[in-house]
Symmetry: C2
């Protein structure tokens, strides 16, 4: 009896996808095979260079990682700002020069004659972590990235929450402390203003000016959240207090999100999570003390992101795969 065996080598006709992650400093592009997150080709260049338009640099970069044998199914692009996914328009990417209401999707699609799909980078990082990172096996994922600011994304029943205008998921801008510190967006008391690296550094600055005792000092310059985390690891009381404060409000915001979404995993990413237990302990304690019923915790995992700074790129590829 004859059993046909399929050839499993990499054929030229295998489907390929391109993922792009746009940042204020770097443009990253990778060519991916049909399965897995190991790129076939990958290239990183500076976003800005003299008078060149970032969108022209991006189009050239895509050309450089194009497969030799041709043929890309779709290009997914992670954008650092709100986008209109239906029309492929970037509403605003503050860190990329000239990117206000630019039709990035059509521009790239026309040049490479290949379908293009856009997403917000934090939403796509959530998608990447769900498909290939800390959220694997979960259907309902909340991803938070805590660094200079706070962003995030939501996977609801295996689908990414984007909203009809593409501006859902702005978790850094929920109000946690009415009339609290000024946020980067111009409003007050948002989660980002309290629990981001910037919020933590501002808290320490304020308390040092009040005369709080600490190994930290405002000279020669205001400490960064990283320096505060290091001081906290050495037992500095003000540093510990600052992370307690940030973690308590982060825990409250996460509790709100548990009540709204009932997820099975919270994935925490971004540089501030390198403080580990200094941040995570007050977060967990606050959640335990704030949920309506323990049912919200029965199936819940809280864990760190796995994809690091690849999350946006991988998410863009997952988006491209559709």
């Amino acid at each position: 009896m004859f059993s046909p065996v399929e050839f499993e080598g990499t054929l030229a006709k295998d489907k390929k996808y391109i993922g792009i992650d746009i940042g204020g400093t770097q443009l990253r592009a990778a060519l991916y095979p049909e399965e897995g997150i190991e790129p076939i080709k990958k290239k990183i260049i500076a976003t800005h260079n003299g008078d060149e338009k970032p969108e022209d640099r991006l189009n050239d970069l895509i050309g450089e990682i194009w497969p030799d044998e041709g043929g890309v199914e779709r290009i997914g692009i992670a954008v650092p700002g709100p986008v209109d996914p239906k029309n492929g328009v970037v509403y605003k990417a503050s860190n990329v020069r000239g990117w206000i209401d630019i039709p990035l999707g059509p521009l790239v699609q026309k040049r490479h004659n290949t379908p293009v799909i856009l997403g917000n980078d934090a939403n796509l990082a959530a998608l990447g972590e769900w498909r290939y990172g800390a959220g694997v096996g979960h259907h309902d994922v909340i991803y938070l990235t805590i660094s200079t600011g706070i962003g995030g994304g939501f996977i609801v029943d295996d689908r990414m929450l984007v909203g009809p205008q593409g501006i859902a998921g702005e978790v850094g801008h929920i109000t946690v402390l009415p009339d609290g510190p000024l946020c980067g967006c111009g409003r007050r008391g948002h989660l980002e203003s309290v629990s981001s690296g910037t919020g933590i550094a501002n808290y320490v600055e304020r308390r040092l000016k009040e005369g709080a005792k600490s190994s930290l000092s405002l000279e020669p310059q205001k400490p960064t959240s990283r320096q505060i985390a290091e001081a906290g690891a050495q037992g500095d009381p003000l540093a510990i207090e600052a992370f307690e404060y940030a973690g308590t409000f982060l825990g409250r915001a996460i509790t709100d999100l548990l009540h709204i979404f009932n997820p099975t995993v919270i994935v925490l990413g971004g540089g501030v999570t390198n403080a580990r237990d200094l941040l995570l302990n007050p977060v967990k304690r606050t959640i335990d003390n704030s949920v309506m019923t323990p049912a919200y915790l029965e199936q819940l995992q809280i864990c760190y992101a796995k994809l690091g700074d690849q999350a946006g790129l991988v998410g863009a590829m997952v988006l491209a795969k559709g």
Copy 2:
């Protein structure tokens, strides 16, 4: 040439659905045709009667509205509390005697030999308003019901948000005022504790005890939110202040939800919304003053619920239709 014409009259084989809305006071049941919200039969009885089990009363009630010609596709049930939709279990319905961890779905399914599907009543009211009420034509709907407590439900891209354990959508229990008033759930500063009818009445009580001037009085008894709304309509300063306070926090919570979901409509239901502009004006003003960017308001409508106290029943029917 012969064109076959389908007979469009009501045939015995037309599909029929049963919707049930369970409350602490009343059990409502209605038999619905395949289209529309006009019931074929409808009956309302008391939830409790002597020693009878509410689940037995419910099963008898379903028998009473069963179609004469037999044949119901599915029974949808709105429950006043959290449910496990996968296993048809009511975790807890505080206002229904003995309903803790009861397998309501299997009990009804076995008795009537018909598929049963359960949902939380506030989530199902959202579903009803989306399909047949103020949310018609929208794909992303936030529904809030403001009465003694605050409940709600979310429609995300035409799907009801229930969560893997079925306990999503508890919007009344997001924290709006850290360390604020005690909530019915035992925690502090939840939206329900500040902006519900109970929250408004408690606010007025507190301010009267502080000596605030008002036509309202704690004698012979503490005013209800309805009486406060009536006083507000007559220009009473404390009543206006109380609705300003409640509306401001409600507006902040809605702004958080705009940033998270980017919906196109907010539907407000429940008895407290009878105060109309007294509540809605501070809500709208706060939203205008709190959103990150006006983009969240471009496609947004804020409107009152249309289905009134039928929302849960209609939602149960929509759920049954699947």
